[in-house]
């Protein structure tokens, strides 16, 4: 059940992860091998078993809605790759320019 090239590219696109040709080939091999080994899971009878998302689950964690100080904009923006005034600078979302 080796993954196809197209499947690898599809997953990479979902993850917005650029891959070069060598990476596509390598991940095709490695992911196929890993998934083949993880297929042992299919042998476990899980009929009627509830899935566990958190092993130590807390339910309905609530807190009061209190106003507290936020970090100032200059500190928030200190790590920004591109900024303009008090804003993060982003690339155009609609169209290229």
């Amino acid at each position: 059940m080796k993954l196809s090239r197209e499947e690898v590219l599809h997953i990479a696109r979902l993850a917005r992860l650029g891959l070069d040709e060598a990476e596509v080939d390598k991940f095709r091999e490695q992911l196929s091998e890993l998934l083949e080994s993880f297929a042992v899971l299919q042998r476990v009878d899980t009929t009627g078993i509830t899935p566990t998302a958190h092993s130590i689950a807390l339910e309905n964690v609530v807190r009061s809605d209190q106003v507290a100080a936020s970090l100032p904009p200059d500190q928030i923006l200190a790590n920004a790759p591109q900024k303009e005034g008090d804003f993060f600078r982003v690339r155009p979302v609609l169209g290229d320019r």
Binding site: V8, H10, I11, A12, L14, A15, R16, L17, G18, L19, D20, E23, F27, Q30, L31, E33, L34, L35, S37, F38, A39, V40, L41, Q42, V44, T46, I49, T50, P51, T52, A53, H54, S55, I56, L58, V61, R63, L71, Q75, I76, A78, N79, A80, P81, Q82, F88, V90, R91, P92, V93, D96, R97
Partner: protein, 490 residues
């Protein structure tokens, strides 16, 4: 061992006594660790950042408090290393990734805040597998860290830098994080004590997220008594981490007695896996017999039949959570950004292609696959159901036993380069530790002996929130043995 090492390899409780009785000053102790760092770092490369100035200013403040008799905490003035995935305000926090190579957090992680309020002295940030994904610290984007017991071998991972820092005396103790064994496995490989607390016992606020339902912060120390002291400082509810539990934390030093009479310990046979190094099994069986001599009742024939499925379940669940957590690295808000295009999607894809290393990409791909349309039920949901079975099996075992005892790893430290291109072989080195994260349990790894001159760790696993029980067992073992006192020749 060098003259400097003698002082930097003190335990917390020893250093605290020397500080309190004014036989050494906090500044001298910090300088000793910084000198030791300069001495061993060229060979070991355990640290990403050395925080000389911060350490000396914190040491001066601690010293003033100690002199005035106002130091309340046994951690006051004691040098510590922080794994580089915990945010330190004003100090670069890289996760050993190009993606965060220049990232300087504007806030402290809760654990860092807690240590700072105890007047701890931070001497550096430790190297790790990139984003904590790995078992050898070879996945650091910067450099591999070397095992002080044999520099051609890995220190384990992902908290390899923290384990090496403690083993080599670059600081008195360290913090690590553990998602599938990342505190315990390197602790075992470097012959130090490492505790993964129960999920929720320690706040994850400010810990860069890898797999949120599995990640937990814990101490790496010279011995169990130190482990209890550090856990006292970092455990507890934090309103900023909604998965931290709202139960009060006890004083973990109160449980440290050497009487194991009446305790029932189970040895699950599935943890003596096929492919396990026979010398490792021998060391662990001998260590367990020692626990029996100390009064514990041992059942050598416990079975946890779902154990063989834990690895597969883990490597679906952890990468799935990672693929979601790492979606935040888009080159817009912080971190590396590919600036040579104005096309949004291309910029995002190139940012992630160049910012992440091979193992991180592999896990993002694996997780994205397991969560994608058409595969979610067959992989992710299936793994979560198997997770339930594994947890239930532990619950049942803990009806009969106070703790379970296993090897920490199936082998001694392997050679650098040996497994780096074979992900499945690398993943198998966590086979004894990752079931514990799946079930959210506490577990401690302590030095249990040596095989061919290389360290072997023993793992003691407890029921949720029974850190006191496993620390007591580990403490009793260390009172009766001196494996934890042996230091590497460097």
């Amino acid at each position: 061992m060098s003259a400097i090492a003698n002082h930097s390899q003190l335990t917390i409780h020893e250093a605290h006594q020397l500080l309190k009785t004014r036989q050494i000053s906090a500044v001298e102790l910090a300088r000793t660790c910084l000198a030791r760092i300069r001495e061993v770092e060229p060979e070991l490369q355990a640290l990403v950042t050395v925080t000389d100035e911060l350490a000396l200013s914190q040491a001066q403040k601690a010293e003033a408090l100690i002199a005035a008799g106002d130091a309340q905490s046994p951690l006051s003035g004691i040098p510590v290393l922080i794994k580089d995935n915990m945010c330190t305000r004003g100090v670069r926090t890289t996760c050993s990734s190009r993606m965060l190579g220049d990232f300087v957090p504007p806030y402290d992680a809760t654990v860092v805040e807690k240590l700072t309020s105890c007047h701890a002295v931070i001497v550096g940030k430790t190297n790790m597998d990139e984003f904590a994904m790995g078992s050898s610290t070879e996945n650091s984007a910067f450099f591999p860290t070397r095992n002080p017991w044999d520099r051609s071998r890995v220190p384990g991972g992902s908290s390899g830098g923290s384990a090496v820092g403690v083993a080599a005396g670059e600081a008195i103790y360290a913090l690590g994080s553990d998602t599938g064994g990342s505190i315990r496995q390197p602790a075992g490989f470097c012959s130090v004590t490492g505790l993964k607390p129960t999920y929720g016992r320690v706040s994850r606020y400010g810990l860069v997220a890898f797999a949120s339902s599995l990640d937990q912060i814990g101490p790496l120390t010279q011995d169990v008594a130190d482990c209890a002291l550090v856990l006292n400082a970092i455990a507890g509810y934090d309103p900023r981490d909604s998965t931290s539990v709202p139960y009060p934390a006890p004083d973990y030093t109160q449980c440290l007695t050497d009487d194991l009479n009446g305790l029932r310990l189970g040895v699950p046979k599935e943890y003596f896996v096929e492919g396990m190094q026979p010398e490792v099994a021998t060391v662990i069986r001998t260590a367990i017999s020692r626990l029996e001599e100390l009064g514990a009742g041992i059942d050598w024939e416990v079975s946890l039949p779902h154990t063989p499925y834990a690895l597969a379940a883990y490597y679906i669940i952890a990468p799935s959570e990672a693929s979601a957590n790492l979606a935040r690295y888009d080159g817009v808000k912080y971190g590396f950004s590919y600036l040579e295009t104005n096309n949004m999607w291309q910029a995002m894809e190139k940012t992630r292609q160049r910012g992440f290393g091979p193992e991180v990409k592999r896990r993002i791909m694996l997780g994205t696959y397991a969560l994608s349309a058409g595969y979610y039920d067959a992989w992710y949901l299936k793994a979560q159901k198997v997770r339930t079975l594994i947890r239930q099996e532990f619950d049942q075992a803990f009806e009969k036993y106070d703790a379970l005892v296993t090897p920490t790893s199936p082998t001694v430290p392997f050679r650098i380069g040996e497994k780096v291109d074979d992900p499945l072989q690398m993943y198998l080195s966590d086979v004894c530790t990752l079931p514990i994260n799946i079930a959210g349990l506490p577990a401690v790894s302590i030095p249990a002996g040596f095989a061919d001159g290389l360290p072997v760790g023993m793992q003691i696993i407890g029921k949720p929130f029974s850190e006191e029980t496993i620390l007591k067992i580990a403490y009793a073992f260390q009172q009766a043995t001196d494996w934890h006192k042996r230091k590497p020749a460097i």
